[in-house]
Symmetry: C2
Subunit: 140 residues, 2 copies
DNA sequence: CAACAGTCATTCGTATACAAATAAGTTTGG
DNA sequence: CCAAACTTATTTGTATACGAATGACTGTTG
């Protein structure tokens, strides 16, 4: 195995893309009844954690571009899962929080997120799982 | 750290999404002069490896949906990097290969792909890099 | 050989992802 | 205090990503 040969299947970018695809597919199965995408769930989790959060800050917390955030927020608000209000101090800012519907949904899907994680890491031993998470955190 | 608490930053799906974003960003910098996306480069590499390959098979080799493949193929063909012909045996099938322009481009970007891999794995030691690749291959 | 199942490519619709440009509002530095 | 620098949110355009449906074609099987 020479160092200057480009083997697609050994490139970390290709592996990350495929691993992400598999994680997303497992997510889709587990969340099929709730109609949430991984990204939408991510946003809901962080809004839940923060209580109330501005659109741009939510984007930073969830690693989403402002343009992406706009779309995600719009779809969640369109379903009545979150509600926004204009910030009275900074008039550019929109503050978002979960509605009661959104909170109820978060309760229902409480365990589903962890199930997806468990399934995604299924092929690995407990020790390997810890190592993978640690290494991923280092290259993020 | 309890097991039933959902910490977004520790979920493998979120980490995979962020790691993939970072790898794509590093790719974009390295390939800015060539105007190739990671996906397009992936397709070119596999066409190069195969010599000639059908559209659906290329999709399987590169982990792309037929609908996605159609778009990628269309943009590469539109730039004259690949050329297609109808298969004379199976009349549904399209066979694709690199044009001379495409081959020349692949020569020019020969080292760039490996550079992206090196940069993406930069925060890790050589041993950690091997482990990460092995673990990713297991969960793909 | 005729029905059926499977494959190949396309199309449509939805959802990230992000660069780039813009408008409006806030903060900072001189 | 005022102009420059920055932040917030939006808009446009391009590129994956994939479910679902479709039409055309191929292989299999009774």
């Amino acid at each position: 195995m020479s160092n200057d040969t480009y083997c697609l299947e050994e490139q970390v970018g290709f592996l990350l893309r495929r691993a992400h695809q598999r994680a997303s597919a497992l997510f889709a199965v587990e969340f099929a009844d709730h109609g949430l995408t991984p990204t939408q769930f991510t946003a809901l989790v962080k809004i839940f954690d923060e209580g109330e959060v501005s659109q741009n800050k939510l984007g930073r917390l969830t690693a989403m571009d402002p343009a992406t955030m706009k779309g995600v927020i719009g779809r969640l608000a369109g379903r009545g899962l979150i509600a926004g209000r204009a910030d009275e101090i900074d008039r550019r800012r929109m503050q978002w929080r979960l509605t009661e519907t959104g909170q109820a949904l978060m309760h229902r899907v409480q365990s589903a997120g962890l199930t997806v994680t468990r399934e995604t890491l299924g092929p690995l031993s407990a020790g390997e799982q810890k190592i993978l998470l640690r290494l991923l955190q280092k290259i993020v």
